[in-house]
Amino acid sequence: MLVPIQVQLPDGGWAYIASIVLVSLEVSLTAVGLSTLFSLPIALLVGFTDFPGKGVVTAVINTGMGFPSVVVGLVVLMLLSNSGPLGALDLAFTPQAMIASQFVLATPVIMSVSLSAVEGVEQSVRDAAFSMGGTDVDVGLVVIKEARYGIVTAILAGFGRAISEVGSILIVGGNIVFSDGESYTRTLTTAITVEARQGRYEIGLVLGAILLVLVLGVNGLGSWIRSKGRGDRST
């Protein structure tokens, strides 16, 4: 027999939940956007060029995907805390600090998957672009176009890592809510930990469902884009 769950909304009601969702999206999207701008050129540069130690660089990038998020949070907090080298910026326990930690976590994912996509573009395609009168920029654009589905997948994977992350943003953000119930640095994941600790499992489940919908939406978008890539070849 199904028993409907009675949800007792916390102070602030749906506005509280909406503010949590907005902070989550704002932090994750900004971090992923910045990470993409940072990661893509490096992935292209590493993918395009041969240099001594390239294998080591690639291994380091790939290893970064396994960074423990709490360690990243700890390091970012040490850097941003009052006694840290970036303490003067006064960013500890702010959304900007959370963006910084998510940037660190999303970057290896976006860089590694993009690099893999770029390296997957056959040399013969680059040669064709060059031989048809393309400059280095033209050849680069062709590679980006050829690797576009892989690059989009990389960005979505980075977003998936960022939005579902809890350890580092809990440390650097502090999970802060204003007195009127509006979130300052509380995200969906950190809110779930609070609700679970306070025994308000129903609200935790609602927040978890929202998070799941977001992650499912992102994965669905990724699948659709990948299938579009496959579909292109059969039309």
């Binding site: 056959e122 013969s124 395609v125 040669d127 064709a128 672009a129 060059f130 031989s131 048809m132 009168g133 393309g134 400059t135 033209d138 062709v142 176009k145 050829e146 890539g229 292109d232 070849r233 059969s234 039309t235």
Partner: protein, 285 residues
């Protein structure tokens, strides 16, 4: 020299490799090769697989600088020119590879690629933006090139969904669409059936008739006989002999050429690459 000279005018350029040598590590791929193509001439480079034909074509296409010797355009070493001047020269050449190497895009985008990259950036961006809101028809040169290879009906199809032979023909159309002064064709009919091989050879002859200088690398002697004005036989990275096809295939001067013509020299074995003279000695015995 002016890299733009001759554009739109009579085709009066010649491209030559002069005493070029190329090594990949310890492996010597080309040694002291001198070979050039004149306007309207079809020069076929023949030789067994792995003998340096593709490397020679890539040198002529300015993919890389030779380790020794020069690639000359109208007598000027192209590697003494600035990057921009060399780009201008590269844009007067087109190349077809053994593998079609098409982009994951409709055939029309593939065939018009060379035309697009030759436009100034401002115009390219404007056309790109216009293409988002209007359905732009491809330039007539691209349609003509596709018609030449019999694939105009595939213009909107994704290039990666084509068969190997169709892809090869689209690659040829892509090279043709830029109205080149020189064409470099690396085993251009390797994926084609006899009928489409004939279509391609006809297109090669017509292009040379318009004054386009064409270098074809192939191991197919029969094709070389059909389309060439001149043949160069290359073996072990060395140019063994050159001349009209009737001479090279009918009355070869070098025993290695004779071996190749007789079908006894199919591969360029690694041990012979180190010193082709060993092969010469064996042939003399």
């Amino acid at each position: 020299m002016d890299p733009e000279q001759g554009k739109g005018g009579p085709l009066d350029v010649s491209l030559a490799a002069t005493e070029v040598s190329v090594s990949f590590g310890a492996e010597r791929v080309l040694h002291d090769v001198s070979l050039g193509v004149e306007p309207g001439e079809v020069l076929t480079v023949v030789g067994p697989s792995g003998t340096g034909k593709t490397t020679l074509l890539r040198l002529l296409a300015m993919f890389r600088r030779p380790d020794a010797g020069a690639v000359e355009w109208d007598g000027t070493d192209v590697w003494t020119l600035s990057e921009d001047e060399r780009l201008a020269l590269r844009r007067r050449i087109s190349m077809v590879f053994q593998e079609p190497s098409l982009f994951n895009a409709p055939v029309r985008r593939n065939v018009t690629y060379g035309c697009r990259v030759r436009r100034p950036w401002g115009r390219r961006i404007r056309n790109q933006l216009k293409g988002l809101v209007t359905d732009q028809s491809p330039p007539e040169a691209a349609r003509t090139a596709l018609r030449t290879v019999g694939l105009l009906d595939k213009i909107d199809q994704n290039a990666l969904s084509l068969s190997g032979g169709e892809a090869q023909r689209v690659a040829f159309a892509r090279a043709l669409a830029v109205d080149p002064e020189l064409m470099l064709l690396d085993e251009p009919s390797s994926n084609l059936d006899p009928r489409n091989t004939a279509v391609l050879e006809d297109a090669i002859r017509r292009a040379s008739g318009r004054g386009v200088g064409i270098v074809v690398a192939t191991h197919d002697m029969h094709q070389a006989e059909r389309i060439s004005d001149r043949v160069g036989f290359i073996y072990g990275g060395e140019l063994i002999e050159t001349g009209p096809p009737t001479q090279v295939f009918g009355d070869p001067e070098d025993p290695r050429t004779k071996q190749f013509v007789d079908g006894e020299l199919l591969y360029d074995a690694d041990e012979s690459r180190d010193d082709p003279r060993d092969v010469l000695d064996r042939a003399a015995e």
